[in-house]
Symmetry: C2
DNA sequence: GTAACTGCAAATTCTTTGCACATAT
DNA sequence: ATATGTGCAAAGAATTTGCAGTTAC
């Protein structure tokens, strides 16, 4: 198993949490994944190497990592999807209701919106989740043929 | 019970759905509410007048009204909140993680973001859900005292 | 050594569904 | 008249929790 990234191990220690094999595996799974994963997918993946690993631990690990700001959860429909929370790499989700694919877009364009929220409403933003539903370019092209 | 708004009754008829007392009550409850409500709250409210009314019907009514574009659902945490989908009155949610209150902000500032999504990614937007978590002005003030 | 964590099973919460009866059109 | 909708109870899906045993520190 690859070493846990500096930040995660540090953040856990600093906050008084223990660095367990299970937390490392959850972290590594998210780190190696190119896309966000739901708890089930993370669990299934880790189970291949550690059959006793289970969903309860998956959720508990994700909860801790999320609390430490290492992992970000996005809710799409009724389930949560998890991915690393990379500093300054904010992004949002475009969900195609036709093919089910999800595109990630950069968060730059949201900056003015978030500023407006703080300036006009005095609301201090900690996280912003934008989930856009619609039809992706490919499905759009197929539909208009 | 007040008369159902023109649009809802029309939309139901036009689409081949029946105009039932239950759907009217759900619609009226949302129309008279100043804030979004979850299914439970809607059901409880209607039960005061009609004790046989139940959650299953609440969800089924909301599903129809949402499908017709009369009602909009926003997911916050793990549950859905419902409100009227008023034409050109798009708005988003600021959830205070401290006191649990929700502010509604106008959607105007999101317009450039949505244009960018269509222009740059060819993604045709049908709905955009923005849920911002953080600390509302009141809690912010209290915390910095 | 001991407080924190895990595994397992059972409980919760939100939402959906099957089916017999009721009702809008 | 009959297809559609409702009420009730039971099923589902995602997530959380209680507890006895395990592990990081």
């Amino acid at each position: 198993m690859s070493a846990m990234a500096r930040t995660a191990s540090d953040a856990l220690h600093t906050s008084g949490y223990r660095l367990t094999t299970q937390r490392q595996m959850v972290w590594d799974t998210l780190r190696l994944s190119k896309k966000h994963l739901d708890a089930e997918a993370i669990c299934t993946s880790i189970r291949r190497r550690n059959p006793r690993f289970n969903l309860a631990t998956t959720y508990r690990s994700l909860e801790v990592l999320e609390k430490l700001g290492l992992v970000k959860q996005t809710r799409i429909g009724e389930r949560g999807y998890y991915e690393l929370a990379e500093e300054g790499q904010d992004h949002y989700h475009l969900v195609c209701d036709e093919c089910g694919s999800t595109l990630h877009i950069e968060g730059d364009h949201m900056v003015p919106v978030l500023h407006h929220i703080t300036d006009e409403h005095g609301f201090v933003v900690s996280t912003a989740d934008l989930v856009v539903h619609g039809r992706c370019a490919r499905c759009q092209a197929r539909a208009s043929r």
